[in-house]
Symmetry: C2
Subunit: 308 residues, 2 copies
């Protein structure tokens, strides 16, 4: 069974959308990635840090999903990372209302002994120095390393980010970030330039407009499923990444053809994530629901045509 190591935040979020608002609920990239990846037959572990205010029962809940949480350091005297945000009516843009780093400010990741030789490594969006520290704790290069990052690190930690980018096989970023990282408006040209920085595979996430996978001059496109209602987009990108790497880990196959399937799976899982607030939908999600939705993805994209 493949071992997947995930580094990412485990956090509290307070979310406001046009459909309602939440008090502090559990969130964080590490949480969303692990929940999505847990749909596949793998062993996973999260490396993260939380404060004494984080519910121990939630860690036990994750353990019940075969997610190892030994690498989630608990700083009893500290408080868990907290983010509050409010989405605009189009749900594509949001204002950050609060960012309290708390214990994340001094996060010094420690990979648990059992996971120092993972087959798959997912570097969730965090300071690139933290991501590099995790890479450095793994002596043998995993079968696949996937990096998620964002514009904030491009603006504030460019050199460290470039070092991490040079070490990974796959990078997932959104379209605006791909343009910023490459200085190219065309996503095709952006992907070329990002390839040259290191990653053999470039995944560009476009939210409601789907995701593009670039490799070796070839592109593959996974649409987002058109939904009646998007309730809360929080965690959709992380869920996409978790579904992507979870599927690859579960199938032990990192070929381009399998990556195509993996972006469809990522898009599939993300389409559930946005249906309810926070992690709620991902916690109830069944294999059967995923299979039914996969059929919808096929209907949405598959055609048969020859021009002669």
């Amino acid at each position: 069974m493949s071992k997947l190591l995930i580094v990412g935040t485990v956090a509290f979020d307070a979310i406001e959308t046009p459909f309602g608002k939440t008090d502090k609920i559990i969130g964080g990239a590490g949480t969303y990635i692990a929940l999505a990846a847990s749909q596949f037959d793998i062993e996973s572990a999260i490396v993260s840090v939380v404060g004494g205010d984080f519910p121990k029962e939630y860690l036990a809940y994750l353990n019940g999903k075969n997610i190892n949480t030994e690498g989630i350091e608990i700083i009893e005297s500290g408080k868990t990372f907290f983010w509050a945000g409010k989405y605009h009516n189009d749900l594509n843009t949001r204002d950050t209302l609060a960012t309290e780093l708390n214990v994340l400010a001094d996060f010094n990741p420690k990979v648990p002994q059992l996971f120092t030789s993972p087959d798959f490594l997912m570097l969730g969006n965090l300071h690139p120095a933290v991501q590099m520290s995790v890479i450095n704790q793994i002596p043998v290069k995993p079968k696949l390393v996937v990096l998620d990052t964002m514009n904030f690190w491009m603006n504030n930690a460019w050199d460290e980010l470039m070092q991490v980018i040079g070490k990974v096989d796959v990078i997932t970023i959104n379209d605006e970030e791909a343009r910023q990282l490459s200085g190219e408006y065309s996503l095709v040209k952006a992907a070329h330039k990002i390839h040259a920085m290191g990653p053999e595979f470039v995944v560009i996430k476009k939210g409601e407009h789907g995701a593009l996978l670039f490799h070796n001059g070839t592109a593959f496109f996974a649409p987002a499923l058109p939904l009646e209602e998007v309730f809360d987009p929080t965690g959709a990108g992380d869920t996409f990444a978790g579904g992507f790497i979870g599927y690859l880990a579960g199938t032990h196959d990192v070929s381009f053809d399998n990556m195509k399937r993996a972006v469809i799976v990522g898009s599939n899982l993300a389409s559930f994530c946005v249906e309810k607030f926070g992690t709620q939908r991902m916690e109830e999600l069944t294999r059967e629901e995923i299979q039914i939705r996969l059929q919808q993805f096929k209907e949405l994209t598959q055609f048969d045509i020859d021009l002669d």
Copy 2:
């Protein structure tokens, strides 16, 4: 051989993009639609109006592509409709610099005798009263009527637009227009409401983000081909529509499965249109280039996956 009747502008455009600018060149929705549709084995005709300044050689050129131009009225004392626009750096937005209606102001469309019983009718973007006048000149309902329209008519001719919408099988509009027409942000909900206004098929064009085809609660998605460079987006939507209806007319098949193919073909042809200024690329385009690009569309979208 299917007969396709097209009503749409035949015009002069002056275009400025980040890559350069043109003097007055030939454009207009009717021109782009007819050029795209001429890739298929059909007989087509344009209903339009031009001034004495419009080059007769271009009408002869269209005739050479099996496009009947008897329905293009020439008002020798008048001037041809002229549009000038400047695209912003992202090529998704533009400023209109000039709109001179000229002979279009009093356009009174006359369907040529040979085309009063077309199998397919394409109502290009024009005042809905003009579109309705064409519908009224055709005694027997064609196999398929496709309507293109825009926000301007929603703002200025709502009642007449609703009457036309009630008469057509397919409507093609962009995402913002679909939201305005329906009052719904979700495109799935927007499509439901637009279905209820009449059209059994709703095509929502999202520019560089592709196009969605909705029918009977089912959606199909045609991506835009990711391009190294988009040179000039003018006419891409009309080329999409022309490829869509041209393919349907050429195959004599208006089933939902064939419409899926038709939106792929539309997206295929539109991806060429944007590669050069104006109609230039569409004039040189060969069947072989279209076939090669179709292969790219398959690579971009087709996958094979089962989850068990």
